[in-house]
């Protein structure tokens, strides 16, 4: 199963990076959303995939009898999902605000903080 998931992760990452290299913020936002999912899938695959054996320790035992599904990646992914979702929400609002304040979603035209052709510092007085 792992190779299929690894391939899927690769496809997700490719799409995310392609979108994030765009200069339009709306595409970068979509890239961010896909990037978060790509990473979650990556962590899930790193934990190895095992089906239909819940990680429950039987009565009278200290450790599981045989191999069981790994519960830890799901805890990690849950954390990562919460964080990436809140980041996405923040960036979405920020982008909307940037669009309404600066009047563009083209990052090439966002030169308010770093104006083009700023004068060099004075050479003397």
């Amino acid at each position: 199963m792992e190779p299929v998931f690894a391939l899927l992760t690769g496809i997700f990452l490719t799409i995310a990076i392609y979108l994030m290299m765009s200069k339009f913020i709306i595409r970068m936002l979509m890239g961010v959303a896909i990037l978060g999912n790509a990473v979650n899938l990556l962590i899930f695959t790193s934990g190895r995939i095992m089906r239909e054996v819940p990680p429950v320790i039987g009565p009278g035992l200290d450790v599981p009898a045989g191999p069981v599904a790994n519960p830890l990646p799901q805890a990690l992914i849950l954390t990562a999902i919460v964080i990436s979702f809140s980041f996405f929400a923040f960036l979405l609002v920020l982008s909307w605000r940037a669009y309404s304040t600066l009047g563009t979603d083209n990052t090439d035209e966002m030169r308010v903080a770093e104006p083009d052709g700023a004068p060099p510092p004075p050479l003397g007085y």
């Binding site: 978060g36 009565p59 809140s86 004068p119």
Partner: protein, 519 residues
Amino acid sequence: MAVSSPPVDLSAALVLEPVAALDWLVILPVAWCIGIGAVLMMVRHRTFLHPPIAVAALGVLAGFDATLLWHVAQNGPVTMVMGRWLPPFGIAFTVDLTGALFALIAAMVALAGAVAAVTDINDSGRRYGFYPFLMLLMAGVSGAFLTGDIFNLYVWFEVLLISSFGLLVLGAEREQIDGAVKYGFLNLVGTTLFLIATGYLYGIFGTLNMADIAAKAGPLRETAPLTTLVALFVFAFAMKAAAFPVNFWLPASYHTPRIVVSALFAGLLTKVGIYALIRVSVMLFPLERDDLSLVIAAVGALTMVTGALGALAQTDTRRLLGYLVISGIGSMLAGVALGGPGGIGGAVFYALHSMVVMTALYLAAGLAARLGGGFSLASLSGLYARHALFSALSLMLFFAVSGLPPFSGFWPKVMLVKAALDGGAGWLAAALLFTGFLTMIATGRLFLLAYWRPAAAAAPSGQAAVPATALLPLIVLTAVSVLIGLFPETLLGLVQQAALTLDEPSAYLHSVFPAGSAP
């Protein structure tokens, strides 16, 4: 009907004895900051309460961190596990000298920022939540310095990042929105790279506890692509620390927020990236760091020289300082690349010095703007005639950032240059000294134009009076820099001890696994 379960030996999974009283200090800085942040949110409409609560809380935080540093210096690394689960199953907070030193200086810098913010952040800034964000930022920063778990480190990175977003857009002017877009997207990519590297790390090791990773790295070297993994970590942390090819978010954003926010960012954020780089590359994967040392050294040299050249080209004083932050990161990377107690000690010492001095420099730029009416070198003038004490403090900071004696920047630079010469990397020593020279030119010209140049008659005049809350943090931070420069023995001893613990982490491992290695 009570079902009696068979007796279970809990000592195999849980820490059964109670935590020693002083060991609670390991978690206290984080819990304290989150708690006070919550209290500040509860009283968010009574903005007059915010400054006294936050300043007092950060003072207490500095006390906690100082006690923790004393405890660690006396007894070696200290570990506390969450939920009593034995490591590596529970999340462990492990503090060694490096983490305690960084946490203490960070708390001092935040305290100085909170005092300076009393006048710099107005009522509307407080209502938007400056002080709660500051406390949560400190929770993230302290957590990153104190944790002993890689995934937990990632979580603290995100905590401090989301707080820094809030601080960055405080006021929501056009410049800030523009800077925040670039800062937000690029930092998100940086932390996501960190998470990707952590995912691979988990796939290889099956553990996230740092001590466990350090212990298990040896046998895995034969089979696992550890150098690739470490390269990914170095790339992610270099992005967070603003190293040369991936640092464009810093000059785009650091000059846009309120000056106190810039000062806090300059002192805290990039240094967390450097700390994480030192922790992962030096302590966990020393052999892989050796493999990558030439790459890190080249990146460090390019970062410091391009940073200093960038500072020379700026007209805005805040942007000039932003490039000096980058230049300092280059020196720390040089230390990481050199390795050994000298190089690592130099990098740690430089980071501590840079936290104090860069924050003070941004605060000084804010005061200069208040006195002289702006941030542009084209118009800023006559500060020396206006306020001689402030000018003297600024000059000391300029010397400190350039690495001149007798200020705090001198000793780490000596350590780094000596480590470079001892390691046969003369070109790196030359880059370090050349950077100091360029920094001296940049700051010297700033002093010449803004302080010595007579005020033009038509120049916009700022307010003449300087409030005590604006001057006091500057005086204290400059005094810290001078004291470190004049009496470096104590800090030098601590830093060298910290570097030795990083280089040979057996004390760290023993603190996490007292009974030997992990199961």
